[in-house]
Amino acid sequence: MTAALQSGHSAPVFVIFAVFVSCALFLAIWVTTDAITPRDFYIGDGRLAPIQNGIAIFGVYLSAATVLGTPGLIALTGYDALGYLKGAIVALVVNLLLIAGRYHSTGHYTIGDRLGRRLHTRSVQVAGGVAALGICLVYVTAQMVGAGALAAPVLGLEGPGARRIMVVSLGLLLILYVAIGGMRATTAVQVVKTVLVLGGGGWLSMLVVSKIGWNPMLLLSRAADHSGLGDTFLQPGVSYGDGTMGKLDSFSLQLALLVGPAVLPHVLGRLRTVPTARAARRSVEVATWLTLAFCLMVTILGFGAAALLGRTAIKVNNATGNSAVLMLSESLGGVILITLISCLAFTTVLAVASGVILTASTALAHDIYQVGLMKGKASEKSELLVARGAVVLVGLTAIGLSLFAQGQNIAFLVTLAFAVGGSAVLPPLLYSMYWRHFTAKGALWSVYGGLISSVLLVVFSPALSGSPTSMLPHLDFAAFPLSNPAVVTIPLGFLLGWLGSVLDSREPDMAEYAEKEARVLADVDVDRLARSSGP
């Protein structure tokens, strides 16, 4: 069956994808106006409809790893992999209830803006920019490595050379696309991705369910039988065993999956593309409903793959389970469906990576260049130029890094991105929204403390060295026992934010906090109030 996957269907996939790419580029040029401002480029002038933005948030939120990887992982490890889906849902719920509305009200373009404007400190804004840039760079590199892994099953091209061609061509396309079109173009591709993912995934899961006879219980018991693991397939513990460290590591991963996605910079960036805080809340609400539907679909696909194909067949085809969905669509739907699923995979990479690159370039051009280096005095034209340059810079760096990491186990990259998000972005964000004693020192401590501790603990973790499954199996400098540092770094980030604020000699400006809070609650523009109130 792999022969059919590798050669038979690559031609239609390739043609359809080429047509899709040309349409995408045409769209990017078409939606871009001549007189584009940084505001246009970063947030599409903030004029999107909430439904459209919600669809796009779903599009940028779920990466190729979730769309293709998780069903495979469910087929291989059963219950344990369901944690990835639960994390994705609960993280969005947390974002919706605690963050979305308030982030819109006092945000501008970036996380750095959100923190810097509340605390009136340039260094805080730069810190926010550095954290966002770091998360985005790591995240987009992981996406590009994933894109290389798609070359074999989708295009039928084997070997490291094919992967490199795939990564470089897709990466250059991304750079061109984002640099020309900015937020409007990435929104377009994210909407297309959502339609393809929900349409294709929905069709495939309907086929699975009808094959089983519309009985979810039967689906579960067949999956357990054909997995070769019996009842343990539907119980926790298949992927991490009995050891205490394994359990702690798994809990740490669950924690990272909860808080990391809640504050992904490219999701927060999208919150500002709608006009009001109400619309921002509505967008995340739409995205959460879509994510719920999607996660149910992925559960069906994962257990369906185990039930219909068997765990061994999937493992033989690809040890990571990445091709499970492709195998399932081939056995159930034939050429049309596998072409659709392949297009969906490409579009997913394009949609997620373009959103992340755009967010990284926004952080670099706005927080670090405009506010940090130029003290807010750079002209709009030069900021826009730097933003486009930053797209090229970030894109090329991600391509370079992913070529280096091609074919290696890069699970630690996403772990790192989530750990940094949870420990360097979430604490200052929540403190700045809900705690009036929060100060600039607290913000700097939690951002840099969370960032540095996450990076150090991941570098010295078994994910990078010292075990057969690490990225560098031949070296051993692992000193920290857990692959997922979140259980340590997230409390540390909150602790540092609190400690820095308490030890800050400067008093927090309570009256200012009250003003900002009033503005957030009533969703009115306090800056405008201040301007119009002169004597």
Partner: protein, 154 residues
């Protein structure tokens, strides 16, 4: 409406009164004729008689109500959803025997908790949308009306 509230306390609804910023804590809106009157040395007027001050105090009360409404119930619901998630993650490591207990056919406690997680998440989203529509949005609109402001659409 308590006319004895000193001006410096008025707009610092959530913090302690900030003496250094004085009556300018909330930019602009409260500069009623009364304030200027006192600068001229003329006797202070009864604040309750001033429609601008009355309106401002109305807005303050509405803001206070909205501040409370935007925190407590929302924190409670978020806490419930997150606690269930963490409980699930803890039980998977600490009590695998309990998680493996069969409930009906292939459905065990672990899978049932998983379903429950989907259910509570969906409920939280539905609840918050309704809560926003029925409580938060009307109250915010009321505050904006008192302040004579438009919804921010920057």
């Amino acid at each position: 409406m308590n006319p004895s509230v000193p001006p410096s306390r008025r707009y610092v609804a959530w913090g302690e009164p900030d003496a250094s910023r004085g009556p300018d804590a909330w930019p602009g809106r409260h500069r009623s004729p009364q304030g200027r009157g006192r600068q001229d040395g003329s006797p202070p007027r009864e604040p309750g008689a001033d429609p601008a001050v009355a309106q401002q105090l109305q807005a303050d009360l509405a803001l206070l109500r909205l501040g409370a409404a935007s925190r407590r119930p929302v924190f409670t619901v978020t806490g419930a959803v997150v606690s269930l998630y963490l409980l699930d993650a803890l039980l998977a490591g600490a009590a695998p025997g309990l998680m493996a207990m069969h409930l009906a056919g292939p459905l065990n406690v672990a899978l049932a908790l998983n379903l429950l997680q989907y259910g509570t998440s969906a409920w939280a989203v539905w609840w918050y949308a309704r809560y926003g529509r029925r409580v938060l949005d009307p109250q915010a609109a009321q505050v904006r009306a008192w302040l004579g402001e438009e919804e921010d659409t920057r």
